[in-house]
């Protein structure tokens, strides 16, 4: 078997601008059907598109973060095709002069890092949605999504393994999230992936005939679809058949692709420059201004966390899976001056709370100052880690002030040796059998007695101190 699978991806992301790309309608998900529409986005006669500047800014941010060349002059083209969800019967897109070209993204692979080329990024409008009536034989059209701004990010066919595609998509998603240009939710359709797959003899360098796979619902299934489709094509070629240029639909449940439509030669979209939108000039100043305001990207953050703060690569990765978590970590660290404590809290207990309550990182609302105060109390020994967990929950659920909460609930550590000794003595009196067990060599009984003492102190005792006192007293 000397075949090689070659893949490229086209990623569509919906931009989280306030309004649509060519009109003033709100850009929002989940509204009542046909409530966010106007003559422009429903293509009424004589209505004209006016470009939303925020879309251009977001496209430029993405282009700069993905190392692209920025066009000095960019223009829109009409892509003509009939479909009931497309009210003008053309999509305003960019063919001849996309806003960004020739970029790339470094991904980590088991054999080191690899640069995936990005052929172009262009701006376009989304189409509406068709909903098939649940009971009657008819189709309903919802035009709310018409004119929602999209970026199409087209990679070069640089992927030769499924894990590379997955790494690329994860990295791309991270970057877009950090840039704040999209919420990248596959389940809401704000990030969509089309996969192009072809196969060739290893080392031949030639380009096989690619098929396009749509309807892929997760990054993992992109990988599965690539492997499946590659295998299908290899089998086809080896049995003397030929690969047809077609669009296929991936069914993740059946773990199988199906033909959606045959392209029978290239699809003819009868592109033409849109006469309603003037050529857009992008100045060097504009580009430099945006470049200077780009946030630090996750990859750079990770390197910095490891280099400057001594975090493990695993922790650095976990902290940078979302912009909000990274920001919380950085703020907390700045306040408490102890990155590892902040990591322990955020990657440990806070992450657990998020999982338990199904809180998404972008909805996480925790005050960094409160986390820092909690860390300070733990580090100074004012409270122990068990109490720390309880206080964190209070911060998480009730936005409680940790200092006030500890004081009100009397959770501060018992640091009076006399009080602690009294507690130990009482536990020993109440548990003569355990004392005898320990003294006859059963080490396990010691742990039990420490636990009992801690319980009587309601968790506020310092375990090291209790150990010391207990050992002294057991000596008799």
């Amino acid at each position: 078997m000397n075949w090689e699978i070659v893949a490229g991806v086209e990623v569509h992301v919906e931009l989280s601008t306030h309004t649509k790309i060519f009109c003033g309608c709100a850009n929002a998900f989940g509204a009542e059907p046909n409530t966010l529409i106007c003559p422009v986005c429903t293509g009424m006669p004589g209505a004209l598109p006016v470009l939303n500047r925020q879309v251009v800014e977001y496209a430029l941010r993405a282009g700069l973060a993905l190392d692209c060349d920025i066009a000095r002059r960019t223009a829109f083209d009409r892509k003509n095709y009939f479909y009931p969800d497309l009210p003008k019967a053309y999509q305003i897109s960019q063919l001849h002069r996309p806003i960004c070209q020739n970029g790339g993204l470094e991904i980590e692979t088991p054999t080191g890092s690899k640069r995936i080329g990005i052929r172009q990024i262009h701006m376009e409008e989304d189409a509406g949605k068709l909903i098939h009536h649940p009971t009657q034989p008819c189709t309903l059209a919802d035009y709310n999504r018409c004119g929602v701004p999209l970026l199409e990010i087209v990679s070069r066919p640089d992927f030769t393994a499924a894990h590379e595609v997955i790494a690329y998509l994860e990295s791309l998603r991270e970057i877009l999230l950090f840039l704040g240009v999209s919420d990248c939710k596959m389940q809401e359709g704000s990030l969509r992936v089309d996969l192009n797959v072809s196969v060739r003899r290893k080392g031949s360098g030639e380009q096989g005939i690619p098929t396009e796979m749509k309807n892929i619902s997760s990054f993992q299934s992109v990988g599965r679809a690539m492997v499946w489709e590659g295998a299908r094509q290899i089998q086809l070629l080896e049995s003397g058949g030929e690969v047809l240029r077609e669009t296929r639909r991936w069914d993740d449940g059946k773990h199988q692709g199906f033909v959606l439509r045959s392209k029978g030669g290239a699809e003819d979209y009868r592109y033409l420059p849109d006469p309603d939108l003037p050529i857009l000039e992008i100045t060097q100043e504009q580009v430099e201004q945006l470049r200077s305001t780009l946030p630090e990207l996750p990859r750079n953050k990770r390197a910095r966390y490891q280099r400057e703060m001594g975090l493990s690569s695993q922790d650095a990765r976990t902290l940078t899976t979302s912009r909000e978590v990274a920001a919380l970590f950085e703020k907390t660290t700045a306040l408490c001056q102890h990155p590892q404590e902040a990591v322990n809290l955020i990657v440990g207990d806070l992450a657990r709370l998020c999982t338990e309550t199904a809180t998404l990182p972008e909805n996480l609302q925790v005050d960094a100052a409160k986390l820092a105060a909690l860390i300070a109390m733990i580090r100074s020994g004012k409270i122990n880690r068990t109490v720390g967990k309880e206080v964190l929950e209070q911060i998480f659920f009730r936005d409680a002030d940790p200092v006030v909460y500890v004081a009100q609930k009397g959770l501060a550590m018992v640091d009076d040796p006399a009080l602690m000794e009294a507690a130990v003595r009482q536990v020993m009196e109440e548990n003569p059998k355990s004392v005898a067990d320990y003294q006859s060599g059963k080490e396990k009984a010691f742990g039990y007695l420490v636990g009992q003492t801690m319980r009587s102190l309601k968790g506020k005792g310092d375990p090291a101190l209790i150990n010391g006192i207990l050992r002294e007293l057991l000596k008799g």
Binding site: P39, P45, G46, L95, A141, D268, L272, P275
Partner: protein, 483 residues
């Protein structure tokens, strides 16, 4: 109200301002003329008399309260072509496809006129989707030329010509508005591309279209242009044009004469009238210089390739799904598209859509269309070059006398040739004005056209106005029907 016959919109505006006549009286006058003329001329697709009277009352109140935002044309009854969207009023653009369509928005040009006290009489007939030579191509029957009702006309030109409306605003695409104005003995003005908003003008050939204005005199048109021009936040192709000033002396203005245009197949009546006009302009102080039009042989092919591509794209939205004509009793989606479009679009529209699809097809996004866009750029630059030698170009409006309704052209190319003189303005985005300058042997008016530099409207108006001050062709009125 007979005394209003022949009076211009500016004079009527003054009478209204001085309250010698009320807005309602002016509208009643127009409605009477409409009632009298429509049976023969059918220039209107819809007359909105009730709304016009109500609007007149409102404007009158503003005049009575000395509202300073009112223009000199406030209260003057006018018409718009049916390509101009007027909120809540049927807007068909001359196509069965849009029968019964009432837009929930208004075109910027109408909004601006309305804000200044415009009073709308109704919507006039035009070629289906502004695609045609003479207005004959209207799905609801063509408007007639009041000078000879066997001839078709764009309704806006006809309505102004026979005194139904005092001025009209429509769409100038293939030039039918200018040609109709010329055949109807009235004046017209097409501003520089980007000067007037296209928002709410039903689009046929977007990049070739502009608002067009029809008035008895070029000054009427100039006044209207002053009201509707200016950048519009809803049309990103609009620009802030330099101030409009037509108080320019003819002395020192150089008028280019494209000598080649006066040879070949030009109708002798037209040649004679237009050359006489050029002599008149020379006598008024302008100098005439011979010029050559750039890529003259490629103008029309370029024009039609661009136009067909845009038509095919712009009209694809009429699919029977959201508004307009929808075929009944169809089995599936493809059949809905096919039947709706087959039944509701006119044959000339279909022909252009098919051509457009062909021009746009192929790898790399349509080689023909790309080449035409390239040629268009060369033509634009060629005109820049011509305008280093003259301020404007004088030409006929049309090469031949109008065909009567139903008369078949020899072939399609002969039909296209009617656009020879009107196409450059659209292709190169230039302003153009037409004014009447004579009559042919059958008594049908002849006009000449001035095509100007970008934003050279002021110069065109000055020259045309100078001409009209020295001549009286614009004051002649069409006789009663049958004469």
């Amino acid at each position: 109200m007979k005394e209003l016959a022949g009076i211009g919109p500016l004079a009527l505006g003054k009478l209204i301002q001085s309250r010698a006549i009320s807005c309602v009286e002016a509208v009643r006058h127009s409605l009477e003329v409409i009632q009298h003329r429509e049976p023969q001329c059918s220039t209107f697709l819809e007359v909105t008399g009730e709304q016009a009277l109500a609007a007149a009352q409102k404007v009158q109140k503003r005049i009575d309260s000395k509202d300073e935002r009112l223009s000199p044309l406030a209260g003057v009854p006018m018409a718009v072509s049916d390509s101009v969207c007027v909120k809540g009023t049927a807007t068909t653009c001359g196509s069965k496809m849009l029968e019964g369509f009432r837009p929930p928005y208004s075109a910027t040009v109408w909004e601006r006129l309305q804000a200044e006290g415009g009073v709308l009489l109704g919507k006039t007939a035009l070629d289906e989707f502004i695609l045609g030579v003479s207005g004959e191509n209207c799905a609801f029957g063509p408007a007639r030329n009041p000078w000879d009702t066997r001839l078709a006309s764009e309704g806006s030109a006809g309505a102004v010509s026979c005194g139904e409306a005092f001025y009209a605003v429509g769409s100038d695409g293939f030039g039918a508005l200018r040609r109709s104005a010329s055949f109807c003995g009235v004046s017209s003005l097409r501003p520089t591309c980007g000067t007037v908003s296209r928002y709410g003008l039903v689009a046929g050939t977007s990049s070739l279209e502009q608002a067009g204005i029809v008035g008895k005199t070029i000054l009427d048109c100039a006044q209207v242009l002053a009201l509707i021009r200016g950048k519009d936040s809803r049309d990103s192709t609009t620009v802030e044009a330099p101030a409009l000033d037509w108080k320019i002396s003819l002395r020192g203005l150089r008028i280019g004469i494209p000598t080649a245009c006066f040879e070949g197949g030009l109708d002798p009546n037209i040649r004679q009238a237009v050359l006489a006009a050029s002599k008149q302009l020379e006598a008024l102080g302008a100098s005439l210089v011979p010029v050559e039009l750039p890529l003259a042989d490629d103008l029309l092919p370029t024009y039609y390739v661009v136009a067909c591509g845009e038509i095919s794209s712009n009209l694809a939205r009429y699919d029977g799904i959201r508004y307009g004509y929808r075929a009944k009793d169809v089995g599936d989606l493809m059949e809905l598209y096919r039947q709706s479009r087959s039944r509701a679009l006119g044959s000339q529209i279909k022909e252009h859509i098919l051509l457009g699809n062909f021009f746009l097809s192929g790898e790399g996004g349509g080689d023909y269309h790309q080449k035409a866009l390239h040629a268009r750029e060369l033509i634009r630059r060629g005109f820049e070059d011509v305008f280093t030698r003259c301020h404007m170009i004088l030409s006929p409006v049309v090469p031949t006398a109008p065909r009567t309704i139903g008369e078949k052209p020899g072939n399609l190319l002969e039909l296209y040739r009617q656009s020879t003189f009107t196409a450059p303005a659209g292709l190169a985005g230039l302003p153009a004005a037409t004014v009447p300058c004579g009559f042919d042997s059958k008594g049908i008016p002849i006009g000449f056209q001035l095509t100007g530099r970008p934003f050279g409207e002021g110069e065109l108006i000055a020259v045309a106005h100078g001409y009209q001050m020295a001549t009286d062709f614009h004051q002649r009125l069409p006789g009663e029907v049958g004469q």
